[in-house]
């Protein structure tokens, strides 16, 4: 039974990271119906920023939890700035264009950012310091739930709660929902749609950076390519849950995380991706809008 729980928490950890990234995809899609393919790169840049910050501040005598918090906060700010800028450069000028144009622009942006980090940093895997300490109280559970997994899961839960409060109760949250449901009407109530779009990119990128730093310190190494794989998986999770739906993105991510974890554990690690994408194909056949997705019909 320990093995089952090990896989269970492993899947939950994976799912948490996917969820942090998938939220960015689904929120952006909800607002401007664009798949932001550069989103995975923002996550990767978050991880790199975390690495650099951790390196610099550890020289200044910081360590452990304080270093983790510092790395995370600065990575979030930095990635948010990237997300904001990406929207302004690559998507905003194409707002009136056909839907294909910003999609191509997104892919271009993704390739550009990968290569930029490749040139600015290195193509090798870089070791990432373990910033999450081993807690003594986790000793009895060490067989199936590590300290860093616990921190990842708890952080994700906290972030989700904060996001829910933001979306449900704050002014900007309401403006985001209104814009997603009817952009023209949101404009007519006085919402500055450009501002809402920028905020969506900023929030989504910040969440991805949290995921980036957490997974990097958990796994212990990063390179310029991690954003592509993680981005693809998170995108799959968002589609699985129903793209545009925030609870859907979280649900899809958890299902994907568990599927991969159990398939790897009970069948073979060779089939990890096969199961993930089989799941996607099945969902697209039987429920094209995703698990919690709404098929869009408008009542006139």
């Amino acid at each position: 039974m320990d093995y089952f729980w090990e896989l269970f928490f492993g899947g939950l950890t994976r799912g948490s990271i996917y969820a942090l990234i998938a939220l960015g995809y689904t929120m952006v899609y909800g607002i401007i119906e664009l798949i932001n393919f550069a989103h995975g790169e923002v996550y990767m840049i978050g991880a790199f920023t975390g690495l650099i910050v951790a390196g610099v501040f550890s020289l200044m005598g910081f360590s452990g939890a304080s270093l983790l918090v510092l790395a995370m906060v600065i990575a979030v700010l930095y990635s948010s700035a990237y997300g904001y800028t990406i929207e302004k450069i690559a998507y905003k000028p194409l707002r009136g264009a056909s839907r294909l144009a910003p999609l191509i622009s997104a892919i271009g942006m993704s390739i550009f950012l990968q290569n930029y980090v490749l040139l600015a940093q290195t193509s090798d895997f870089l070791p990432f310091p373990a910033l999450i300490p081993e807690f003594d109280f986790m000793e009895p559970y060490i067989d199936y739930l590590g300290s860093s997994e616990l921190v990842i899961i708890l952080t994700t839960v906290l972030v989700m709660i904060a996001l829910t409060v933001l979306i449900k109760f704050t002014k900007i949250g309401k403006a985001m929902r209104a814009t997603a449901q009817n952009k023209k009407m949101a404009m007519l109530t006085g919402v500055n749609v450009d501002h809402v779009i920028s905020m969506t990119f900023i929030i989504g990128s910040g969440l991805a950076a949290v995921g980036g730093v957490l997974i990097a310190t958990h796994i212990g190494q990063i390179n310029f390519y991690i954003g592509f794989i993680a981005g693809l998986k998170a995108f799959t999770a968002a589609v699985l849950g129903g793209i545009g739906s925030i609870p859907g993105a979280v649900l899809g991510s958890l299902i994907l995380g568990w599927t991969e974890s159990f398939a790897t554990g009970y069948i073979s690690s060779d089939y990890e991706d096969v199961f993930a994408f089989c799941l996607l194909v099945l969902i697209l056949i039987f429920r094209p809008a995703g698990i919690l997705g709404r098929s869009t019909t408008q009542k006139v």
């Binding site: 006085g190 009542k299 006139v300």
Partner: protein, 235 residues
């Protein structure tokens, strides 16, 4: 109050409005009637800044507004109830009303206006926590009007408020329009295909054909006009 002067509005390369001029005085109910595709909705969208005019000017209380974005126009006191009502379907009735007051900060004023609206449309008070998309057509129209009123408009633009509603509901909606105009001195700019109903409540009217204003007169005279009777009143 609102002065639309010689505007031309385009969708891409297609010209929808040709040299349109409309004058609206404070406290008036003005109607713009015309066939499908004449440019009535475009006129309203030009006023609100959603589809700004390419040439000409629009003045609101002698201040040019044709170069402003919608989020700058709404706080001046211009509010639109768009065609098809455009309720936020997955937000509750209450949240839809909150969105109407999006740019307002006076909490007490908002509370007061909510009471006024629930007084005007008691059914909305019952539906407070229901999602906007689950309301009936008539209720959605009431919600759309209430949402606009929550912004405390000085000029209320109404686009086809009678569209797709039962006669009894239409009657009720038009009564409310007159009431809002009389009680709050809200100026109303009413776009309608239902020319009969519109001319009954309006003080003056404009007739639009193919993007041009073809005729303007008092509502009574338009009702008597032979061309208008034949083309729009079906008499």
């Amino acid at each position: 109050m609102l002065s639309i002067r010689n505007i031309d509005t385009f969708y891409g390369n297609i010209q929808a409005l040709h040299n349109v001029s409309i004058e609206i005085a404070e406290g008036e109910i003005i109607t713009l009637i015309g066939a499908n595709g004449a440019g009535k909705t475009t006129t309203l969208m030009s006023v609100c800044g959603v589809v700004p005019p390419r040439t000409g000017e629009i003045l609101f209380r002698n201040q040019p507004i044709h170069h402003l974005s919608p989020d700058k126009i709404v706080p001046l006191g211009i509010c639109q109830v768009p065609e098809g009502r455009l309720i936020f379907p997955y937000m509750t009735v209450m949240e839809n009303l909150d969105m109407g007051a999006y740019l307002r900060k006076d909490k007490n004023g908002i509370k007061h206006d909510l009471e006024y609206i629930f007084d005007l449309f008691p059914i909305l008070a019952q539906r407070k926590t229901q999602a906007g998309g689950t309301l009936s057509g008539g209720e959605q129209q009431m919600l759309a009007m209430s949402r606009a009123l929550m912004a405390r408009p000085k000029l209320l633009l109404l686009d086809e408020p009678s569209l797709g509603l039962a006669p009894l509901i239409i009657k009720q909606i038009f009564e409310i329009i007159e009431k809002i105009n009389a009680e709050n001195n809200t100026t109303v700019f009413l776009v309608e295909q239902n020319a009969n109903q519109a001319l009954k409540v309006a003080h003056r009217g404009y007739v639009m054909e193919n993007g041009h204003i073809s005729l303007t007169d008092s509502a009574e005279n338009l009702m008597k006009n032979e061309d208008v009777r034949r083309a729009y009143l079906g008499l």
